[in-house]
């Protein structure tokens, strides 16, 4: 495997990470995913790591960086399928991925993603109203 498939399902990109991931495949995946978000204009990304036996500091950082980059593109990431042993190991390792939204499985992950995307949309609408009111005041 030298490329990770990224599926588009309705308005969401879905990725299933697998165990034999090398560092360079992970980095390419990050670029691929960001390009795909930009091209397809999706607002939500779901990454399933249930098939990953471990998440080490390198992959953990790739995931955490990717979440920040996705936010910059105006979209949201939800990480699903983290096993309890991966959670324990990540904390003991000292890795901070607190900026990443997580959910137990794909179903609840999709729900969370929908909620996050919706709240972003509401924020955008609020911002527009504020600026319009501001304009009126100014005039």
């Amino acid at each position: 495997m030298d490329k990770i498939p990224i599926l588009k399902i309705k308005d969401t990109l879905v990725v299933l990470l697998q165990d034999d991931l090398t560092d360079s495949i992970a980095i390419h995946f990050q670029e691929d995913l960001l390009k795909k978000i930009f091209a397809s204009k999706v607002k939500g990304v779901l990454i399933d790591i249930s098939l990953l036996g471990i998440v080490d500091s390198f992959l953990g950082r790739v995931i955490s960086d990717t979440a920040k980059m996705i936010k910059l593109l105006g979209a949201e990431l939800v990480l699903v399928g983290m096993s309890s042993s991966v959670a324990i190991t990540l904390v003991e390792l000292g890795l901070e991925i607190g900026n990443v939204s997580t959910s137990l499985d794909i179903d609840s992950g999709l729900e969370l993603l929908t909620a996050l995307v919706k709240s972003n949309a509401v924020k955008e609408v609020d911002n527009i109203q504020i600026t319009e009111e501001g304009k009126n005041d100014f005039i």
Binding site: D20, L21, T22, D23, S24, G53, I54, V55, D56, S57, F58, G60, R61, S83, S84, S85, V86, I88, T89, E92, L93, G94, L95
Partner: protein, 131 residues
């Protein structure tokens, strides 16, 4: 007893060390959480070799001490060595762009951790986990 001996020269060798340390940890009947800790530490330390020394090896062994059994993995390289081990062991210290959790994090994940390094000669890290 040596179970596996693996050369670390290419990036894919990090994946191979992960796979073999998993195989060893499973065969030695480590709990699922301990398997994950062992594989994660093995991944961190083999990446250290690949990034800093370019070439080295990992030796995975079954060990016994009295009635207790365990796993020992030795990572050795002939790389540049570590100038200040105390600094290198600090959380977040890194000479590359990594997070600097490799050494300190692996130490936290395992029961025993030893490190020896000579400038210009190389580095040896030994990790152990008891059943």
């Amino acid at each position: 007893m040596i179970l596996f001996e693996l050369n670390i020269e290419e990036e894919k060798d990090i994946v191979a060390v992960r796979q073999k340390s998993r195989e060893a940890a499973v065969n030695l009947n480590f709990s699922f959480v301990d398997q994950t800790r062992i594989i994660t530490a093995a991944s961190e330390l083999s990446r250290n070799i690949y990034q800093h020394a370019i070439k080295g090896r990992a030796i995975i062994e079954k060990i016994s001490e009295g009635i207790k059994n365990g796993i020992m993995i030795t990572f050795e390289d002939e790389g540049p060595g570590i100038r200040d081990i105390y600094l290198a062991m600090k959380n977040g210290y890194s000479t590359t762009k990594s997070l600097g959790l490799g050494l300190s994090g692996s130490k936290r994940l395992m029961d025993e951790f030893e490190i020896y390094s000579t400038i210009g000669k190389g580095t040896k890290v030994i990790i152990k986990k008891w059943l």
